[in-house]
């Protein structure tokens, strides 16, 4: 049941939802959101695409395999955790780097391993859920 309206709408929706998912991911540290929620929204975006235009189309839009995405996400999360080990701190201790200042108040923005970890979570959830949904869609 492929409908033109749904297909066109889905493509638009995909872009909007992906942007929204990244927005949810990034604001997660201070307001409701985060990697889990962002990843789920991102996965939903592609699933809508798959419902509208088929799993093959969703895979084409995604470009990389969702399994690879999940494993890379896990690797990123692990790396962010092990980074603390470089400074002889226990693994998964957050490391913060201030850009344009030396504390939260004075700096323009910060680079931190905590956000990197959340990006890992985002990719894991996105990849895993998509892998499940797309392969189920294809195999039944």
């Amino acid at each position: 049941m492929k409908s033109i309206i749904l297909m066109t709408g889905a493509r638009l929706l995909l872009v909007l939802m992906l942007v929204f998912s990244v927005f949810m991911l990034l604001r997660g540290h201070n307001e409701p959101g985060g990697g889990f929620i962002g990843g789920l929204i991102g996965a939903t975006a592609f699933i809508v695409q798959a419902i509208a235009a088929g799993a093959a189309d969703a895979r084409r839009v995604l470009r990389v395999s969702p399994e690879a995405l999940a494993v890379v996400g896990l690797g990123i999360a692990l790396a962010s955790g092990l980074w603390a080990g470089v400074f002889a701190e226990p693994p998964f201790t957050g490391q913060w780097y201030w850009v344009g200042g030396d504390s939260y108040e004075t700096s323009a923005f910060s680079l931190n391993t905590v956000l990197v970890f959340d990006v890992g979570v985002y990719l894991v959830v996105l990849g895993s859920v998509l892998s499940l949904a797309l392969s189920l869609e294809e195999e039944v």
């Binding site: 997660g28 540290h29 201070n30 307001e31 409701p32 959101g33 985060g34 990697g35 889990f36 929620i37 789920l40 929204i41 996965a43 939903t44 699933i47 419902i51 969702p66 399994e67 999940a70 494993v71 996400g73 896990l74 999360a77 692990l78 955790g81 693994p91 998964f92 957050g94 913060w96 939260y104 910060s110 931190n112 905590v114 956000l115 970890f117 959340d118 890992g120 979570v121 894991v124 959830v125 990849g127 895993s128 859920v129 892998s131 499940l132 949904a133 392969s135 189920l136 869609e137 294809e138 195999e139 039944v140």
Partner: protein
């Protein structure tokens, strides 16, 4: 084996030479500590392991540890050297030396550990490595059975020991043995004393093969002879004795301790010697004399008397020297003649002069004749026995055991060499290679040397050892060959006379014993019956619990859960207050109505889509609950997941068959209502009491200043508890990859 031309001996390979060098180096290292320890110093070294549980890896060297460590490394080096020739050319030679080296290091860890948990870990490592060593000839069913038997008996004792250690550690407030020993109040007054004592004794008695756990030790002779020489004479079985000696200051000096050790040790000693004379296999005979030695050591650990403990320490060293040597001699005989049968062997003195010399010296020490160290050991035991409670009992046991030991020494060390052979030997005897002779000769020389100059073991080993067992007040008896004419000397003379008589009559005694044994209780067969029974019970309960029906599995699980909940609720006194139900406003009623309606549809509908929709409704209702009570993150996640579940099920379920119509299942409904009701009751009780908010409070305070995040839930997930989250996302990846493999990698996909 060794004679293959052009082949390099295994001794000169890495796996042959390295272990010997390691053992020798360790021996030298420990020897270097001897002056300090002889001076009364106690060396301690510790690093924290699990600080939150007061567990550290700590080692302590005092006289007792050092004596054991020197025996372990010294005899270990000789045995490893010996094995290189004994097993030369064996296809698993490297594996053997690896096992033996691992065993040596485990045993070493056991005797120098100060923390009880560290001690336990090494204790179990010796059990496991000895299992591998006893079962080394894994192709032989006998060997496998003996290995498993030794493993099960000693590991069961190990579990008892662990329980005892935890009990002691909690009761005394420390897991460091040195701290427990240094406590002001004696632990023997503690309410937990008796349980702790029983558990420790179970551990020690199984390890040191005290009656009625003795049966595994003779069976363990299935191992290659160097293993028997090492594990079952000098080291592993002495682990139990070491433990008793180590715990003596903490658990000893009570009536229960004294009499338990006297009875079990004494009985084991006498029983073992009777069995030893009965054996025709030289190795089996030696195995039983080892049992006797263990019994004797246990016996003399019974009393906090300086003489008795001096006797124990001396006999410990003496026995290790002559028993390891004797085993090695038997190994040479076996290796060069092809048999260990005492009835066949004879006339070896001419063909094997060096072995004969070693055997003679070791045998004389074993028989307790002057001027060998065995004589000193025996004398001091008699002297100690006189001062112990139940002196007559102790002396009687020691005397009987020593008479029979004298006779056994004759059977093993004299008869095969000097008496005519009893029959045709499988191989024509010739001298063993030098690596095999080195061990027995050195041990024999030490037996003589220490006998003439007992001060070399008295000062660095025995005296500090006695001090370690008894504390400062311990009076150490002097070690010397000549004490003057006194009762111990008379007892020694009685021993020699009796031993000679038994030796001369041993063939007749053996026949009598064989007849008696046939009617006696057979512990080995009892062990088999015990195992059969265990397997039968396991089979029976498996048939009941694991019927292969999913419904029955779940019934068991839910029934267990119900009983557990019911008992817990009952023990906590039930629900003592009627819960306060607040006025519900309309949102609450909507949520409750959605849950009930959704669940009901899911339960009763036979339409797949309707059921899935019902589940979706429940999911949304749960999300509403999260919204109502300040959990926006959770609510969003719940909504998204609920949506995905509906999508996945809608995709898959439509390709599955229709739901079958089913009648009302009364029994299942009853179980369901009970589980549901108990969950409600439990949750009411749980949320009625006070709540521990320490963690939450910490997170609320630290979230912004320390982790720079305003969403506390997210900060917990990605910062405070990031390691947990990492584990969880790893699970998600595994689930996804597993499903992917199931769907894409199915072998019969093409068929469908």
């Amino acid at each position: 084996m060794a004679g293959t031309p052009g082949r390099r001996s295994d001794l000169y390979t890495l796996s042959g030479a390295l272990p010997v060098l390691i053992a020798a180096a360790l021996f030298a290292w420990f020897l270097g500590m001897a002056p300090a320890v002889a001076g009364g110093e106690v060396l301690r070294w510790a690093i924290p392991w699990v600080p939150s549980l007061d567990i550290s890896v700590s080692f302590l060297i005092d006289g007792l540890s050092l004596s054991f460590a020197l025996l372990i490394t010294g005899i270990g080096a000789l045995v490893l050297l010996y094995s290189a020739a004994y097993l030369d050319g064996h296809e698993h030679f490297s594996r053997f030396t690896l096992y033996l080296t691992l065993f040596m290091l485990s045993m070493l860890g056991l005797v120098v550990a100060d923390n009880m948990i560290t001690l336990f870990v090494f204790w179990e490592l010796t059990t496991i490595t000895s299992y591998l060593l006893i079962g080394f000839s894994h192709a032989a069913p006998d060997s496998r059975r003996s290995a498993l038997q030794a493993l099960l008996v000693t590991a069961a004792g190990g579990l008892a020991l662990l329980a005892g250690m935890i009990l002691l550690g909690v009761a005394a407030g420390s897991f460091e043995l040195s701290e427990i020993r240094a406590m002001d109040e004696p632990f023997t007054e503690h309410a937990m004393y008796l349980p702790v004592l029983i558990l420790f004794l179970l551990g020690a008695f199984t390890k040191s093969a005290q009656f009625p756990f003795h049966f595994w030790l003779p069976n363990a002779m299935a191992a290659p002879t160097p293993v028997s020489a090492y594990l079952h004479s000098a080291t592993m079985v002495k682990g139990g004795v070491y433990l008793l000696a180590r715990m003596h200051p903490t658990l000893g000096a009570t009536d229960v301790w004294t009499w338990t050790l006297i009875l079990f040790g004494g009985f084991t000693a006498v029983f073992a010697m009777v069995m030893a004379v009965r054996q025709t296999d030289l190795k089996q005979a030696l195995a039983y004399t080892t049992l006797m030695a263990l019994g004797t050591l246990t016996l003399f650990l019974a009393a906090p008397v300086g003489y008795a403990i001096t006797g124990m320490m001396t006999f410990l060293i003496v026995h290790s020297l002559y028993k390891a040597g004797m085993f090695l001699v038997v190994g040479i005989i076996d290796h060069e003649t092809g048999t260990r049968d005492a009835r066949l062997l004879g006339g070896l003195a001419r063909a094997m002069p060096a072995t004969t010399l070693a055997a003679a010296l070791i045998g004389l020490s074993m028989a307790g004749l002057p001027p060998f160290v065995g004589f000193i050991g025996k004398e001091i035991l008699y002297a100690g026995g006189l001062e112990m409670p139940g002196a007559m009992l102790v002396l009687g046991a020691a005397l009987t055991a020593n008479i029979l030991l004298f006779a056994t020494a004759g059977i093993v060390a004299f008869k095969p060499f000097w008496r005519p052979a009893g029959g045709e030997l499988p191989k024509s005897p010739h001298e063993g290679p030098w690596p095999m002779l080195a061990g027995p000769l050195i041990l024999a020389a030490l037996g003589l040397g220490f006998g003439l100059m007992p001060v070399f073991i008295a000062e660095p080993l025995v005296a500090p050892g006695v001090e370690a067992v008894l504390g400062r007040e311990g009076t150490v008896a002097e070690l010397t060959l000549w004490h003057g004419v006194n009762l111990p000397l008379i007892l020694s003379l009685v021993t020699f006379a009796g031993g000679l008589l038994v030796y001369l009559a041993h063939q007749r005694i053996r026949a009598m014993l064989a007849a008696a044994e046939a009617r006696a209780l057979d512990f080995d067969a009892g062990w088999d019956r015990f195992l059969d029974g265990l397997k039968a019970v396991a089979g029976w309960q498996t048939r009941i619990l694991q019927s292969g029906y999913l419904t029955s599995y779940l019934m068991w699980i839910f029934a267990t859960m119900s009983v557990t909940l019911l008992v817990t609720i009952g023990l906590r006194g039930g629900i003592d207050r009627v819960p306060v139900f607040p006025m519900l406003d309309v949102t609450h009623w909507i949520v409750i109505a959605l849950v009930i309606a959704g669940s009901a549809v899911a339960v009763f509908s036979i339409s797949r889509i309707a059921a899935i929709a019902g589940l979706g409704v429940v999911g949304i209702a749960v999300a509403l609950i999260f919204v109502l009570y300040g959990a926006p993150d959770v609510a969003i996640t719940q909504l998204l997941v609920e949506m995905l579940i509906v999508v996945l099920f809608a995709v898959a379920a439509l390709h599955l068959p229709l739901l079958p119509r089913e009648g009302f299942r009364k029994l299942h409904a009853l179980v369901a209502v009970v589980v549901g009701g108990l969950t409600t009751a439990l949750l009411m009780m749980a949320s009625d009491g006070p709540i521990d908010r320490r963690l939450t409070d910490y997170f609320e305070i630290a979230s912004w200043p320390e982790a720079f995040g305003r969403n506390i839930v997210n900060v917990i997930l990605v910062d405070f508890r990031a390691l947990d989250t990492f584990g969880e996302i790893a699970v998600v990846v595994i689930a996804a990859l597993g499903a992917y493999a199931l769907l894409k990698g199915a072998p019969d996909k093409e068929e469908s």
